[in-house]
Symmetry: C2
Subunit: 290 residues, 2 copies
């Protein structure tokens, strides 16, 4: 801990003062884009750190799987097809188990390893992946393209990761081995307005989509498919589900199974309305970074 250390938010603000690649979208999106030779490549870099993202006694096979999945989930939200991953690895944990989980996830998503770096680091381990994908549809979906009149959908069931974390056996897999919705993202990309993955809590991510798109979104709370109706409020605030959240013009049925949970409106005085109740800021809506 250093006197001049920053919070995550302060650090991000400082980064935003640096020269930015236009494909980085102001560091406001999860992925960066490079247009080259008529194609668009999509990049995502996510880290997982011991003590912060997983416990010291976690099975590193699960950690490696999850690291692949969370990176690919961001590609999924762009409708990208995975091209390869680069790995940044700290030696010192159960590296055998890490390799095992990495192999399983790479097999699951048919994504090859391209390279990376390995260090013998002291202290808590940090693992990172840079995932590289190829856009399958133009324009590449973003969280900024929700338009009034569109309908809001989410894939899957929300809250499974939370229940898995709490030890509910049938949801353990959802927490330990989340799934990136690659095929769903590719199917949806040509039809959606906005699209993003649900990583930090459904309500918070809806809020962010509304803010990024300059619209208001009205949510129908009872329509949200939750894994445990008795814990609806927690389910929609917890993260780690990695489902896809997207908007569609009215009359366009989603290309994959998904649930209608709200409507996009002209920007009102707040970004989101939950069952008609205005929500003025994002406090308490989900997992906030520093």
């Amino acid at each position: 801990m250093h006197a001049a250390m920053m919070t995550e938010r302060e650090f991000l603000s400082a980064l935003q003062t640096l020269p930015l690649h236009p494909g980085g979208r102001g560091l406001k999106d999860d992925c960066a884009l490079i247009e080259i030779g008529g194609e668009t490549l999509i990049f995502n870099h996510d880290m997982m750190a011991e003590d912060t993202h997983f416990r010291r006694d976690a099975d590193l096979a699960d950690v490696a799987w999850k690291l692949v999945a969370i990176n690919l989930s961001d590609l999924a939200s762009k409708g990208a097809e995975p091209v390869g991953i680069m790995l940044g690895h700290s030696l010192g944990g159960n590296d055998q188990r890490f390799i095992t989980g990495l192999r399983e996830a790479m097999h699951e998503y048919s994504v090859p390893l391209m390279g990376g770096d390995t260090v013998a680091a002291t202290g808590a381990s940090t693992y990172s992946i840079t995932a590289i994908g190829r856009a399958t549809s133009q324009p590449v979906p973003s969280r900024t393209s929700a338009k009034p009149g569109q309908l809001l959908y989410v894939t899957g069931t929300i809250g499974r990761a939370m229940l898995g974390f709490e030890g509910v056996s049938k949801h353990l897999e959802a927490f330990n081995r989340p799934r990136a919705c690659i095929a769903e993202g590719i199917a949806l990309a040509p039809q959606v307005g906005a699209m993003m993955d649900v990583s930090d809590g459904l309500l918070l991510d809806v809020y962010r989509m509304a803010e990024a798109s300059g619209v208001s979104i009205s949510l129908d709370l009872s329509a949200i498919p939750v894994a445990d109706a008795k814990k609806r409020d927690e389910c929609i605030r917890w993260g780690d589900d990695y489902e896809l959240l997207f908007t569609l013009p009215q009359g366009v049925p989603p290309a994959v199974s998904a649930t209608l949970i709200g409507t996009v409106e002209q920007r009102g005085f707040v970004p989101i309305f939950i069952d008609g109740h205005p929500v003025a800021n994002s406090d308490g809506l989900g997992y906030q970074h520093g």
Copy 2:
């Protein structure tokens, strides 16, 4: 430290059993390549960890600069033009100084930030960059293309980083703020046989080039441009110089200032000969990773 932890070499061997992207060149090269839309993008991912690559009391502005430079140096060895960088950052050190050094290096190399991830990690900090470049010449140079009859050259002066590390004031900059030879790499790429950067010690990197190319290389020790002739043996074994090592057909003058230090020959019974003396293995030639 875990019972099932691996050395860096064991971990690399395990990674090589995973499905590999053909552009990863078997994880034997520093960079990975993706050919797309008639262009070739080049990727490099290098990490720097506290206690392993820099001391706790290091100026993080220097660390950030060096992190950019070592990543771009690998792109330079491919004759690539930098496109952008993605940053993986652990909060908790003097993040202000990190941003300062990052800004200076990004300005020096005109390379923009594309994205990345920031974590609040405990323990020793780890920083990483994924550097993305565009090939300017085909075929993209590699360390495997040295051919008998070619001549071996190196740019700059070897051993400056070592002297800087030892506190020699006029070489401090070479250690703290190494330079990636981007312009030199672009100028050389169309003419070279093999090319790589000198990162782990000149002798060791020459050995690796000979091994990768399946040739023998005869070095003329006295021809190697060292920063301190009294410490010739140390200079050519220390790393961190980030000069370019490359081969050219005879009669082709190098496009940039460089020194002729050896010749490429049919593979003999050892990879390198130093002033005619055979060197059978790489022990003691430079910095070896675990």
